[in-house]
């Protein structure tokens, strides 16, 4: 189904950890099944403020008897998400989507490695679900590295532990899992994975992604990373969500996170 603006109803909006919210939204059936990595722009229906929709990746999708249901897992980072966090069941929202491209899927790979920092869990969880349910990949092939500053910022484990055979949990302060950066935890295990037989997917703060780029370096892994940027239109028109990447000829260019992404090859990203 085509992307469009749908009016949805908030079924549930729950603070799963301080500042982390899980919003369940009922949408018309016409809202098509999103691909992993895609996102929606969400606004409060009929209100002038906040003015722009907020881009939030889709955490899960399910088809119900007479409607579609999506879940958004988001963190309060500013005014827009703060207001979204305050929505109660029954609130009407405008949901524009599904938007953007998706992760490239390699179900034939022996190892699927996910590296998530903080709220980066959200799109990768949807991807893990896709590998399990749609691509028929065995649980044992799915290796999920989750990291956060502290245990209070680890979210999404309930779903992930069900989906992934190998969970690796780390926090900066050691309050949950190993005391390490998620990139460090992966680095320790790196020699276990044959680059030719492994697909790596990452989502997290810029610092994490940059560190990961350094770790993977010339090792030969294919790593796709989904990015976040402030957006206005979500459909490629406004050019607001630029990210610097290297194009095929090696030249530095700005691409749109919304429509050229949000998933990019880690190798193509340019770090300032």
């Amino acid at each position: 189904m085509a992307k469009d603006i749908y009016i949805g109803e908030v079924l549930k909006n729950e603070e799963v950890k301080p500042q982390f919210f899980l919003m369940k939204i009922a949408l018309p059936e016409a809202f098509g099944k999103p691909l992993p990595g895609q996102f929606v722009m969400i606004r409060i229906a009929g209100l002038a403020e906040p003015f722009l929709g907020r881009p939030i990746s889709i955490y899960s999708f399910s088809r119900k008897k007479s409607f579609s249901e999506i879940e958004l897992l988001f963190r309060v980072v500013g005014r827009g998400t703060q207001i979204l966090a305050g929505l109660i069941s029954g609130s009407q929202v405008e949901v524009h989507g599904p938007l953007g491209g998706s992760y490239k899927i390699f179900p034939e790979k022996e190892n699927i490695v996910f590296i998530a920092g903080g709220i980066g869990v959200a799109p990768l969880s949807m991807l893990a679900q896709y590998f399990c349910r749609d691509a028929g990949v065995a649980r044992s092939s799915l290796n999920f590295y989750v990291g956060a500053k502290t245990a209070k910022e680890i979210v999404g484990l309930d779903k992930l532990t069900e989906l992934c055979g190998n969970m690796h949990l780390c926090t900066d302060d050691g309050t949950s899992g190993q005391k390490a950066f998620v990139t460090g935890a992966f680095q320790k295990d790196m020699k276990k994975y044959d680059p030719a037989k492994t697909a790596v997917y990452a989502c997290g703060p810029k610092g994490m992604t940059k560190t990961l780029a350094g770790i993977l370096g010339e090792a030969g892994f294919n790593c796709q990373v989904s990015l976040e940027e402030r957006m206005a239109c979500g459909t490629g028109a406004c050019m607001g969500c630029a990210v610097a990447v290297r194009d095929k000829s090696g030249q530095a260019v700005y691409r749109r996170v919304c429509s050229d992404g949000p998933v990019f090859d880690l190798d193509d990203l340019i770090w300032e």
Binding site: A2, D4, G80, H96, E229, C233, A237, C238, M239, A244
Partner: protein
């Protein structure tokens, strides 16, 4: 019950006839393709495409946008594919539609404006040029072309030399007296003026005490600027006899009609597209509804009917 007849919506901009007065504002509708999934492009009065320069421009480093109360700031920096790629890759798609295509052009010198105008005038499928003399986000040569009446007039003359297409000059509100620029470009041969472009503004991140935009300043658009746009359109229609195209914070049919009552011959819908991809056609339908309700058979009956004296 009023009979459901469709009011006539066609308007005339110079020698360009538009099927209705609703256009897209440059930079908010891509090259048309981006919105073709949402909007039947054939229903639009005109598509004004993203500003084109002679060479492709990479645009400004991010972050480029920031939401503000009742609007947003942008500092895109005229990122565009360049006039040649536009003609080659984007124009064929637009040509397949029955819609007026207005190419917004930008140059860093008179010669560049002329070259871009010449290229676009020699191909089929471009129906008018809109000259951007007012981008607030590009630094080149100090004074922007749109803030000095003599320079704005000279750009107008130079572009007119190169083209038989109607030439619309898009005016910046970031000047002391917008009427002086409007009058100057009219004298220089402009077929119409469109206003306003964005208002220069900025936004501060109090946590980091840094600007929200990498460019520090950006152009403010959205409903927040509508009162300023209305005031400037009101001032300009009194000073020029060429058509005026109203732009600035139009979110719905009522907003669009306010501009037309003041005397704007057509309007451009910009930032509203970001929130509602169907804003243009929603606005068109709303305008027709208004005319029907007020028993008007033709949009031209409404244009310029503003009455300053009656409350």
């Amino acid at each position: 019950m009023t009979k459901k007849t469709n009011p006539r919506m066609a308007v005339q901009i110079g020698n360009l006839r538009l099927k209705n007065p609703v256009m897209t504002a440059s930079g908010t509708f891509g090259y048309g393709e981006e919105y073709s999934e949402y909007v039947d492009l054939n229903r639009l009065g005109a598509i004004v495409v993203k500003g084109l320069s002679l060479q492709p421009r990479p645009g400004n480093p991010p972050p480029r946008i920031m939401e503000t109360t009742g609007g947003m700031l942008n500092a895109i920096g005229l990122q565009n594919i360049g006039v040649d790629v536009f003609i080659e890759e984007k124009l064929p798609f637009l040509r397949k539609h029955d819609v007026a295509v207005i190419a917004n052009i930008y140059g860093e010198s008179y010669a560049e404006y002329q070259k871009v105008a010449r290229k676009l005038s020699s191909v089929k499928g471009v129906h008018a040029l809109e000259v951007n003399v007012s981008c607030p986000n590009v630094k080149k040569g100090g004074l922007s072309f749109g803030s000095d009446p003599r320079i704005a007039a000279l750009v107008t003359r130079k572009v007119k030399e190169e083209t038989d297409l109607p030439v619309i000059i898009k005016l910046t509100p970031n000047v002391t007296d917008i009427t002086a620029i409007a009058v100057a470009v009219e004298k220089a041969g402009a077929d119409a003026v469109s206003l306003i472009n964005t208002l220069t503004g900025m936004s501060v991140n109090l946590r980091t005490r840094t600007p929200h935009l990498k460019n520090i300043t950006g152009g403010l658009s959205g409903p927040a600027i509508k009162p300023v746009a209305l005031r400037m359109v009101w001032q300009v229609v009194k000073c020029v006899s060429i058509p005026v195209i109203g732009i600035g914070g139009i979110m719905n049919a009522g907003d669009a009609l306010e501009f037309m009552v003041l005397g704007a011959r057509a309007v451009q819908v910009g930032t509203a597209n970001f929130i509602n991809p169907r804003a243009t056609t929603d606005i068109l339908e709303g305008m027709q509804e208004y005319l029907r309700y007020n028993n008007m058979k033709d949009i031209n009956e409404l244009i310029g009917t503003f009455n300053e004296g009656v409350f």
